[in-house]
């Protein structure tokens, strides 16, 4: 009986954990939906950055968009900023970065993100959070009031994304949802 007890205990623990393990294994279709959701959030950020940087965006709209863009990030996330004129990469909290972007001293600013792709797939962490890295290329162009191009560069950046299953109460019922939050955005390389 003494020898059987540990085996029975193991079987009990294994069978109890079974359903939990099964829940952790997402079907390929669900995983793909979450992958797409995270990419979509980065594309949303790309649009927000274009709007914030644009000198044609009304002040009130730019401030509202800063709030929306800020909500995409984990608290305390930082954005790397590089320049061909300075060798050092500066890191700012994302809100500070957006506010600086809005106040850039040019007459016209164009920012475009492209080649938005996963560089590291979403991987499940022990706490249940899925973490991945998305890479983007940013084309930055700044013009003076005569429309002359004053500065331009292309920067490759890596964005860490965190996806976690959460629950919230909506009109008295619990709704499970996937919360996508962006983390630090790090500069990988800058070129002309």
């Amino acid at each position: 009986m003494k020898k059987v007890a540990p085996v029975l205990l193991f079987l009990f623990v294994f069978m109890s954990a079974g359903p939990l393990l099964a829940q952790d294994n997402l079907s390929p279709a669900r995983k793909q939906a979450i992958d797409s959701l995270a990419l979509e959030k980065v594309r949303d950020l790309s649009k927000y950055i274009t709007i914030i940087g644009s000198k044609t965006t009304p002040w009130s709209e730019a401030n509202r968009v800063i709030d929306r863009a800020d909500e995409l990030f984990m608290p305390g996330s930082q954005m790397g900023v590089s320049s061909l004129l300075h060798p050092k990469i500066q890191y700012y909290t994302v809100r500070k970065y957006f506010e600086r972007l809005m106040r850039l001293n040019y007459n016209k600013v164009e920012i475009e993100w492209y080649k938005i792709n996963y560089v590291s797939d979403l991987q499940r962490q022990p706490d249940g959070t899925y973490v991945g890295v998305i890479t983007i290329f940013q084309k930055f162009k700044a013009y003076d009031k005569e429309g002359r191009l004053l500065y331009q560069d292309t920067t490759k950046k890596d964005i860490t994304v965190y996806v976690k299953r959460k629950q919230t109460q909506i009109q008295g019922r619990m709704i499970g949802f996937w919360d996508v939050l962006l983390g630090d955005i790090r500069v990988k390389e800058t070129s002309k």
Binding site: A29, R30, S36, D44, E61, Q171, I175, G176, F177, V180
Partner: protein, 221 residues
Amino acid sequence: MRKKTWTSATGVLMVVLFASLMMGGLTSCKSKKKLAREKAAAEYAARVEQAKKTLTAILDGTTGWTLDEQQKQFDTIKSYNIDDPQVKDLMAKVSEKLKGEQAEAARKAEEQRLRDQEAAKRKADMEKFKSLNDAFSQIAQSATYDGANQRIQQTLTLFSTPEVPVLIIIDQQQGFNDYDRPTTIGKFLNYLKDMRAYKFAVESVKKDAQGKITELELIKK
């Protein structure tokens, strides 16, 4: 005396003739039965051979028949009750194959039925929620901030408050919804203005007694 001899000779002749006729008839009957047996054996052998060919072709998937046609052929062969080990082995394998394919066909048919049902529901929903979907599309297509803001104000009158929750379905599997982080109608309409694209469809709405929307569920297209 002569007459008596004649009579007995005729009798013997008659007996011999009768015996000959009987013998001949028996021999002919025996050979007919043998022929029939041989014919039946040949037919059985041909049937066994044909059964083997048909069953092998079904197993290899080279018949070009539909699943129903394959099943009919299988049932016909089964009705022959062929007592041949190779045929029996092939029949067991074909039976298993047909069962598997029928189950797969049934699963696919059910999936198709659900897809059709879903498409029909979506089409009906599109019609049902057309004015709401149109209002969202118009915000996304507005050329100016002022134009978009005006449409946002008009659209907000359909809702009980700008804080009405908006749930966005990112994936549906077996009747289970996966949602994005919930937002509010106020934020969602501004999101459409910023993204300049409406990539959703209204899935469901809840309304209060005044007919104002109190909850909106969208699905990603």
